[in-house]
Symmetry: D3
């Protein structure tokens, strides 16, 4: 299987600029300098500001950028987030790609903050999932933290999550426990979570040595409460499935440790930012 | 400036799998075969099906995939979109990445279809913008077409769009016309569009030789109608800014040729798909 | 299909230097500084000067380069084009690769200028083709512009050109027109050209809505003249095939809008440049 | 310094196809199969046939290709070189890139053969240089061998060539000999050549232990003859500079072992090939 | 910071083959087939067999390979590990790179097995470290598991290890605890370990909420025993520094949970493998 | 076959840092500066110092590094090799990767020096082999030179070595000589070596025109002496197989020109280096 790591900024610039920015090359004088600022056009929690600034510097290392509002801060409509100085051509080439990163990442941070506030419960952590945009996981997970949320596993490699599809490969309970034992032997420090759809499963899983956490999928608040009551050996509980801004407070009140929400990264509304040229010439 | 082209599928697999899928390696037998299908959990216009299928084949070239519903088709909740057969380990490793592509691209196609239907006017084309997800432009532009929309320029290289920030670099009209002439000389087949915020600008731009299209930014239906009335030499008009499912029909009725909508690609709601193992073993 | 974007300068340095420049490492003192200049050994139109200078800076970012003659200028034998200052080792490592770019790109600019001059007709544009050197298209297309020519499409993605091999896939005229209509719907701003070998085809194509341009392949001046006389709806005409410095003036006089010439990029004679060390030491 | 190895075929396909082949996607049915052949339109020595065939297979691994004439063979106008069967879309996408490789590489093989024939002297070898097209060195060096020539060093890493610019860094003769000794110690198996512009230098260099070969730059036949007469210890002599099809026989008669010619790779005329669809449908 | 993921097999083939395998191209007939086997020349625990086999398949996808002994098995001198059938040229090109992977990875597995055996204590796990060969971490960590060892963290991203250099950045204990709290909030599932050189530190660290594990660096068996006696809240203890085959049993007997050994991956002795052609021709 | 060149430093940083250094991000203040030095903890010949320093600069271009001891120098336990100043976070992120390069490369230089000293014979050169770590060949070959050894061929491309497996493809002697002639024609400057296991083979090979060198594999000192006595036409002799620090002096005394030793690069013991923070703050 081909696996490739690539800088998402370089990739985004490549797809936007391709063989060249014709407009800028023909309509902006080569040596013209300019100042500009990226302005929020609505209230939001900002994220991706360093990435946005980095886009300008990759287009032209001589561009000077200043991040005015750090990730996690609340911005008001009309406020500056990043300020830029340099060649006008370079600023205009970078503009759209920088905004594309910032609008999405700030959308994630803003939506996360809304869930954290709605949950209204410091003890429960709002988690993201692996339902991220292909190529942007690292950035999107950081935006969730900027919004006050917490990160579930980064990928398939840093935590074990045994889901329904794994469990449907039926081997008996002793075989299952044996496999957990073998995993513990090779990877003693990795956290192991198992998904449960029914309370009956929860009862089984809390007895298996090596299980650190149980994912309670699509359960009602009442079921979640029952599940939590089965807790043994410091096992943690995560609620997932169908969480909305309306029901998150009730879920949080059930005693679960974590609430994971795919929408944080798969369906945020983009925040509206624009680049304003503040001074041209000289 | 560093510019890099990379296969978004390989990148997405790399960020998800990293140094290895621990769960699958320890809990799924190496030789186990399985069948699976990707099922829509809500009504939608599908897109990204070929990309989803390709994810499985990149993880394991021996996997067999069949796209059951082509891009652009309407799927009902519970219907299959892609069917898969192969090693269970490979299917499970690919699952999330495949769904991540399909949920976003189908979200775009679905939202585009909603706008096309709301516009209710065959003559007007619903266009996307460059407000796409970094790294996914090619795929997202194809999803817009699947939804019945049309593509604006792909990037900075295949069309000229002179925007307010370019125009703020003030040189007089004759200098502007001279630059268009020079551009036409070097790139005779490229289409040239100019952005106008005010009717006065429209009056000027329709007189400049070489202008193919005018972008009417943030104008009211009344203004749009006036602008269209100024048309000369087959110049085309594009409306943009603040288009919603509510107002798109009124905009379409003004006589503009194109309506461009950033939200198609920056704020679609993800469509809910899941992978179901239909047969395991043998 | 694997598609890769890579910086042609980095690729060229890699293939030349490989695991190391043995000569320089053993025969040039590590700290020695030097000045050098790239000199034309024959009269030419220069192109690729920025690329040449960039080669030195990629080998060693501390090298200082100055482009003395901009692309498109005429250089006389013995004149400097680029001047360089920095570590002698770095200059010598970069020398050959820099010259390899400049000799070819200046060859293209020079040949283009010869054709433009021979055509002797401002109204007709001398176009390049896609017959470029693998890996160097962007640079070679810029060299054509430096020579006074114009660019045909950059690749298969930014313009449609329906050639004999496409047309040999015979479907009737109404099917053909329907496909053009469908293309226009999805990609309203792309230019569409059709290739014609016979006047009869020209007569058909000028009637099809959506055709912007007709390629007249391998026609005699008399045939070209007849074809041009069939012009409707502002359709443009391009002559191609068998164009030489001898016959280009006659072709240009037929009224065609464009003359495309593969030889500009596939068979230029390299211009002779050399690097002269002007000061060594200190 | 950034150094990158990349497959020139993948790079060439990427720059030609970019975000997609619009013509083929809209005008060629998806499932249509076809046969095609690449035909020479003039007499030539072919090279690059395997590369040309590989282009088709990279676009679509299901394409079947057959190389009909091996590299180094003489082809007559109208004869097939490569035959292809597969999806029409895939064949048309690959066509131009395949031809671009073959036209250039066959141009090199053909020009090399002309020089070999003109030299008319089996004992003397016609060598290429490092004046190759950036990104294509490996392929171009193979084309020289196909034409009957021989390869000089592949790059800066596999042989030492101490040129005027290295020598201008003046240290005395004993220092120079000492550096050759040190090089021999670390890299005992690498061949060492020194460039001489004057007979006086030849006299010096033949006495230095470790020198394997002397490059006689821009000398007349008479000077070359004198230089060869100074031969000691099996040192080899290479003539370079200003070699043409007219004077190569006289140079070859001077007794030098090698004649190196930059034009082989920097200024070949492209050979005219075309792709003919021989059967479409079924 | 530039970060790149690349396939170590492709990289290794590239550095070995470079612009081509001259010997094979000139001395092995193009169509000749052969069988071969990779044979251990000494007793060892094998690892890297799949990687070795993959090298052959990357050189030539038509090569057939069979892994005869799975990773973790003991091989005797003279026994086959991998068997290969295919074109002789392809086998010979891949040979050295395949052996280079297998000799190193089997060396690691063999050394790990020696430590596991010497420790003689099932309860204690023998861990690797991040002292791996640049570019081979994933493969080397798998070889440790093949030898019966366990993996410490894979890199800086999947576990926290606060070492002396971090601690030397002195802030008081409350600040330290606060930072652990903040980390727990953002990354609730990551394991946190702290390095201790002195028992006094151990006493402090066992009291800090959120600490999962303590690294006891360079302590004597007596000190280790004392440290372990301080255990609270299920904290785990890891011994590191100066572990040898001679002292590992005594360390294991102190009650620590883990013993980490850099030498497993930084100083294994390569295992001697060779490739034998078993049948040539046909 | 996929062939990829990649910077081993960037690869190593990517595999170590992955999606981020959690420890540093949470426990080291963002703006804190620090000084540090890399110290040898045992006597050794250093190598890889420039690579080690480059690791820090790649992590953060604003870091200042100074190489205190050049490659090839002897370092005593406790002495500094590289000194570093910059942001504490950057230094700590780079630490392990820098040490991983230096510990291995210095191990190679140290072992090479031991063999050179043990051979005790200036006339005989101690050669490395292609048994290098995948991905590190260039660096490891430089470390051998730092230790006083010499480089055998860099890869399959810069020298010909006809080994037993090539010879087992039996064609008669005249065919073999003919192939050498053909190789000489295409690649006149490449060195050709043939492997011999028996004296009888040596007798044959010394008669073949074009053979530059004979590899005497696994021969006793007595056999080596006999082989050397057969020398003709300046052919060089290389001894290989089973060379140890104990027997190298006896082998060197047989009159062979080269002794090649795989262990130099496949089984060096890593040298112990550590990074010490010397000043933190300010």
């Amino acid at each position: 299987m081909k696996r490739v790591r690539s800088d998402p900024i370089a990739v985004a610039l490549s797809e936007d600029i391709g063989p060249g920015d014709v407009t800028t090359d023909f309509f902006v004088p080569e040596k013209l300098h300019s100042s500009a600022r990226i302005v929020a056009r609505e209230k939001a929690i900002v994220a991706g500001t360093q990435t946005g600034a980095e886009v300008f510097r990759q287009v032209d290392p001589s561009i000077h950028t200043e991040v005015v509002l750090a990730d996690g801060a609340e911005v008001q409509a009309g406020e500056s987030v990043v300020e830029i100085r340099g060649l006008a051509r370079s600023i205009l080439k970078a503009e759209r790609v920088a905004l594309n990163f910032m609008q999405r990442l700030s959308g994630i941070a803003t939506l996360t903050r809304e869930f954290v506030t709605a949950a209204g419960n410091e003890r429960v952590k709002i988690l993201d999932t692996r339902k991220t945009t292909p190529g942007l996981r690292e950035l999107e997970k950081a935006a969730v933290v900027a919004g006050g949320g917490a990160n579930h596993r980064l990928g398939l490699y840093d935590m074990v999550l045994i889901k329904d599809n794994h469990l449907s490969i039926s081997y008996g309970l002793s075989e299952f426990a044996e496999r957990i034992r073998k995993l513990r032997k090779a990877r003693p420090n990795i956290r192991i979570e198992v998904e449960a759809d029914r309370l009956e499963q929860v009862r089984t899983f809390v007895e298996i040595e090596g299980v650190d956490m149980i994912l309670l999928d699509n359960m009602t608040p009442a079921q979640l409460r029952e599940a939590v009551a089965l807790r043994k050996h410091q096992i943690k509980f995560e609620a997932s499935g169908g969480i909305t801004l309306e029901n998150v407070r009730r879920i949080a009140a059930t005693g679960v440790d974590f609430i994971s929400i795919g929408a944080l990264t798969h369906s945020p509304r983009a925040i509206d930012f624009s680049l304003e040229m503040t001074h041209v010439g000289g």
